[in-house]
Amino acid sequence: MPDLLEHHDVVDSGRLEALLHGDERPARVELRRQVARLELELGELFASAFPRGGIEYSVAPAGGPRMLGVGELEEVRDALAGRIADVRGILADRGYVEERNREFLERVIAEPEKYHWVRISNEDIGEPGCRHWHARPRLGLIGMLMGWWRIKLSSGCPLAQGRAASRTNSPQAFELQVAQAAQAPWLQAAPAAARRAVSGRGPQAR
């Protein structure tokens, strides 16, 4: 990777002379280096965001494949920088909501009798998988009347291919999530946690 990120001599020593002669090549070289660095940052964000879906990573193409001029490279760079800022913002918002949800989950687990019917999913706390915690009464109606509340932990993701694929956190379930995350630009539905981040609400009793 370093050879794509390094500063070239032509940029450092020849920049002034080249600019004086109207040569834009050093500027293009420098812009390409910046694009490479920003692409690396975006890749790191993509990896760290998993399993969160619904995040837009794409940047408008500049009508390639062709050699781009300074202005077009600047547009690519600025669009990448803008996209990185957007993704960082979304992840920060979701991280905040997920952290609050984790704290809330600890309280629910500690005192389920205070949080009747509250249900918190893995998605709410930014974890992969379909597990959820549900504050429910023991023995149904009797438990409700007697105040016997407990946390019921779900068994995982629904079966994708019949009983043979019933293992919790199966590779198939994980890979499906990967495919969905990779297709993020086409995912329209924002996850529940993101919607809560926008509305400012925490997990609700369902």
């Binding site: 090549r25 890749g43 998993f50 062709r66």
Partner: protein, 224 residues
């Protein structure tokens, strides 16, 4: 170990040194590191033999979701993403060859066997990360290279002229394909093709040895 034995058992025909293509000086000056390498194989594409299908299965078992997620941070896939950005393509819309295959693997649960040529390209690309494609060697005139399209040029069988300056893979007469894009009609491999030209597209950050390995792997899978 079974996989290693299979790799060791690949035939020696795949060891021919690849030829290097030309890059127009204007393009080479602007995009250093861009290159083309190819090797020609006397082979027809048809159904994959058992060994290639087994190799594909073994590759599917080794390639998991974690690989797909981390792929953008690995040097070679990242180098292609960077190059796509630098030539005005969005790699999230026009996917790099390795990412296209990774997405298919995740959606379908395995690398699906299609034909011997497709399987050979899949194996070469996934094992090394290097972008590969194929042409009908009988329809290529002279040496292959990369250049910008001239005004008025078009891609055979495709409507309209190419925008001037479009980067194309060309022989000494005409453009054969867009760089990382569509192939001109009749220049790709078809069922009657007897000689296949395997082409690796190298960008800055992709080492020569990976390019040679990609071609060697694809070549070997075609000559089993």
């Amino acid at each position: 170990m079974a996989g290693e034995e299979e790799i060791a058992g690949l035939p020696a025909e795949g060891e021919a040194a690849p030829e290097r293509g030309w890059v127009a000086p204007a393009v080479a000056g602007e995009l250093p590191g861009l290159g083309l390498a190819w090797t020609t194989v006397e082979a027809k594409s048809g159904r994959s033999p058992r060994q290639v299908k087994e190799r594909l299965r073994e590759l599917s078992n080794r390639f998991h979701g974690g690989h797909a997620i981390q792929m953008r941070q690995r040097p070679i896939p990242w180098a292609y993403r960077v190059f796509f950005r630098q030539i005005g393509l969005d790699p999230d819309r026009t996917r790099t060859p390795i990412e296209e295959l990774a997405l298919q693997r995740m959606k379908e649960g395995h690398f699906k066997s299609q034909s011997q040529l497709d399987d050979a390209l899949t194996i070469g690309i996934v094992e090394t990360g290097v972008a590969l494609r194929a042409f009908d060697a009988e329809r290529v005139e002279g040496r292959l290279g990369i250049r910008a399209s001239a005004p008025g040029e078009s891609l055979e069988g495709r409507p309209g002229e190419l925008p001037s300056g479009t980067l194309v893979i060309a022989d000494e007469r005409r453009p054969l394909a867009l760089l990382f894009g569509a192939t001109a009609e009749g220049r790709g491999v078809h069922p009657r093709t007897g000689r296949i030209m395997l082409v690796a597209m190298q960008v800055k950050g992709v080492p020569d040895i990976s390019v040679e390995e990609a071609l060697w792997l694809a070549n070997a899978c075609l000559t089993i």
